[in-house]
Structures are given as C-alpha cells and as structure tokens.
C-alpha cells in the first residue's frame, strides 16, 4: 500500500511540478494541498521549519523537503514503476549533476529575468540562453536526458518550460527561436500525461509572477 501521501505545493511552483510528475509516473494516490503563496500557512512552517518553502512531500506523517531530495525519495520508495534514476552508478551520478545544474543555472537565472532590471536583467537573459544551449549539448540526439526513457533530469527540467512565457514577457525576448532543440524536447515531454497534467498553465504562471513582483516590490 502507498500509505498516506500529502503534497504541500503551490500551483505555479516548478519544484512542486517535479513531484506531481513523479507521483503521476508512479501511479501514487495523494492528497494535494495548495499553499496560497506568497502567504504561508502555519502548517507549512510546521512541516518545513528550516526553509519554509513548498513543495513538501508528507509520507505517513513524515515530511520530506527540497524537491530533488523528495524526487529521489519517491523514486526509491516506489521503485517498481517507471524508474526515474538509472540503475548504473555512473549514469546516476551524471543525472544528479545535471539536475543540480538546472537548480543552479536555469532556476537562478530565470528568477533574475523576472526580478531584475537593466544590465543585470540583460546579463541574466544571455546566461540563461547559454545554460539552455549547454543542456541542448548534453541532450544531443537522445529523445530524453535519460536516454530512450523519460527520467530524473527530464522531470527536474520540464517544469521550467511552463515559466518560459513569463520569462519571455518580463525579459522581452524569445527563448524558442534561440533554443529550438530544447523546445522540441519539451514538446516531446508534454506528450506524456504525467507532464501535461502536472505543468501549470503558462498564463497563470505569468499572473503569479506579477503577484510576486508586487510582493517583492519589483517594478
């Protein structure tokens, strides 16, 4: 039996989307609880006292925080169906490194695109495209980062595709024309039901970014 699984999440969170995809891939039944960000509930503070962030996966009352850690947890507990990490230790190491790259580059640069202005924003846009090109290089001719099968790095990265519209609007630039291979990969992933059902609507993501901009006092 799966036990009691709760996902404390926020609709537009790309990190939450990772876990929604993984739970769907594994066919796990869970209760979805929405946090009304940027306001945070006492329950969130209780479940994630250190970082106070979504998503939090709560399995039989025990919280697991940080999306990549929770992703590995889901893969390990429900290891029988649709494994996300490869079984070969070297390939696993590469997958972990590339997922970290997504967090360090795609996420941080993407955030600068919507929250910074002027030179800082321009630099972020340039480095963001460079990061996507590095990822295109890593993908090569493979259908997925995992190879023939949809896997860990694909799950870690695809949620950011739902944020492209927000990045493009805030940054006044086009991503797809500069990274066509990336977009082709993203559309391939979107054909999976676990992905299309888990990713937020890009317009709603943009609305959320506008709320964040107001909250953080960004013009």
């Amino acid at each position: 039996m799966d036990g009691e699984v709760i996902l404390l999440d926020a609709y537009a969170s790309m990190f939450g989307m990772r876990l929604r995809i993984a739970l769907a891939e594994k066919g796990v039944k869970y209760e979805y609880r929405e946090e009304n960000l940027p306001k945070k509930s006492p329950f969130l503070f209780q479940m994630n006292p250190i970082h106070k962030k979504v998503p939090v996966l709560i399995h039989n009352g025990k919280p697991i925080c940080e999306s990549l850690i929770a992703l590995q947890y889901i893969d390990e507990v429900w290891h029988d169906k649709n494994p996300l990490l490869p079984s070969d230790p070297y390939k696993r190491a590469q997958a972990r490194l590339w997922a970290d790259f997504v967090d360090q580059k795609v996420h941080i640069l993407g955030r600068k695109i919507w929250s910074a202005k002027g030179e800082e924003q321009e630099a972020a846009k340039k480095e963001f495209i460079e990061a996507l090109k590095v990822l295109e290089g890593e993908l090569g001719e493979k259908p997925y980062f995992g190879g023939e099968e949809f896997g860990y790095v694909d799950v870690a990265l695809i949620p950011f595709y739902s944020w492209f519209h927000a990045y493009e609007t805030c940054g006044n630039f086009k991503i797809g024309t500069q990274c066509p291979k990336f977009v082709a990969w993203a559309k391939r992933c979107m054909q999976r039901e676990s992905v299309s059902k888990s990713l937020a609507d890009p317009e709603k993501v943009y609305d959320f970014v506008l709320i964040l901009k107001k909250h953080f006092g960004v013009e």
Binding site: E66, Q72, Y73, Y90
Partner: protein, 230 residues
C-alpha cells in the same frame, strides 16, 4: 572496469576533496591522489570538469565524476559490497541528503562570507549564524545517531563525512576569531562525535593539521583583503 584504476584530482586542504578521501578509505579503495593547483588549472582538470572546472574530480577508469556529494554517493553505489555510507532506509536517506544540502548551501557559505567581512558587527553576526547552525546539527545528531557513535549510527555515514570534513577549518577559524565553536557546554553531543570521528582510522590523517590550515587561512584572508582594496 578495473576497480583499482581510481584517481582523485584535488588539494589536501579542500574539505570537499577530504570527503571523497574519507569515502574511499571507508570502502578500502586504493587510489592515486593527483594534487591540483587551483590558481593554474591543469588540462586534465579542465577536460574532466569542463562545466565547473572545480575539485574534487574522481576519475574511475576514464569516467570523471564531479561534485563531492555526487562522488560520495557514486562511491557508495558502485562499491556497494563495502560498509554502507548512505542509510538504508529511504526516509533516513532523505534526511541525510537534506542536512548535507543545508551544510553546503547555507552553513559553509557563512565562512566564505567571513573572509570578506569588513567590520566587527558583520563578523559577530556571521559567528552567531554559524553557532546557531551547530546547535541545529546537535539536534540532528541526537535524532540520527539514536544513541550510537555517529550520524550514521554504529558506523560513519554520509552526514558524518559531509560535516566532519569541516572540523579542521572550524578549529582554524576558531583560532582566527578567538571563538570556541565546538563548546562542550552548548553542543556536548557534537564535541563527543568530533573526537570519535577525527580519531577513526578511515578519517585520521586526511584533514591537514590545524596549524597548516591556519597558515592557509592567513593567505586566503590576505588575498581577500587585497582584492577588496582594488
């Protein structure tokens, strides 16, 4: 793949490199240590880690593995018949990974900030944050060890390696700032753990002597002050 063709690109005073050395020792893996000059990066390093150009890099045969936490997990998974480094229970593994990420993303950066801290006020604030972190780790230790010797329980595990690698630098910084970071009255469990960890045969001799780290710290601080004044 020959399991004895293992090379480690690193520097002896790097706590991240030391983590890999601990893991290799725990699994009794022989390896060749290839010291790197980080101010003049070798072709081998740049070829092995083109994205981040950093140490440590483990070369297993012709395969490079980068990032100390990724390398330690690789060592644990490849040489799975040696003593386990990560806990066996998935939830315990998640907790170990969580605190490892916290140590690297939140706690160790406080020390990096100390190298460029300009006034006493900011230094004091950073010392406070470091001490708060240690109090957190005291609680984590009590929960994770379940009354045994290490974060990993009976034997040295992932969190022992991730935090323990910094014990030498913690002492060097303590001398620099005249602060007793591991205070028996505040974090008694950690003090006991630090002694047991440092004297374990897989660990002993890897972390350079405190005098050597203190000497290197002076160079780091001088370089930071120099860079700031330009």
């Amino acid at each position: 793949m020959p399991t004895n063709d293992v090379k480690l690109l690193g520097a002896p005073a790097s706590q991240y490199v030391n983590r890999v050395q601990f893991a290799l020792n725990l699994k009794s893996i022989d390896y060749e240590f290839i010291p790197q000059n980080m101010r003049e990066k070798s072709e081998l390093l740049l070829k092995s880690n083109p994205v981040h150009k950093n140490i440590p890099v483990l070369l297993h045969g012709d395969k490079p593995i980068c990032d100390s936490l990724v390398i330690v997990q690789y060592i644990d998974e490849f040489w799975f018949d040696g003593p386990s480094i990560l806990p066996s229970d998935p939830y315990d593994r998640a907790i170990a990974r969580f605190w490892a990420a916290y140590i690297d993303d939140k706690w160790i950066p406080f020390f990096k900030e100390l190298t460029t801290a300009k006034d006493e006020e900011s230094k004091t604030a950073l010392v406070e944050k470091i001490l708060e972190g240690l109090k957190l780790f005291e609680d984590v230790f009590v929960k994770a060890s379940k009354g045994k010797c290490f974060f990993g329980g009976e034997t040295i595990g992932f969190l022992d390696i991730v935090l323990g690698c910094y014990l030498g630098w913690l002492k060097a910084w303590g001398i620099q700032l005249d602060v007793n970071f591991l205070d028996e009255s505040k974090t008694p469990a950690l003090v006991g753990w630090a002694e047991r960890f440092s004297s374990d045969k897989a660990i002993h001799g890897i972390i350079p002597e405190t005098e050597e780290l203190f000497r290197i710290l002076q160079i780091i601080l001088a370089r930071a002050a120099d860079a700031a004044s330009k």
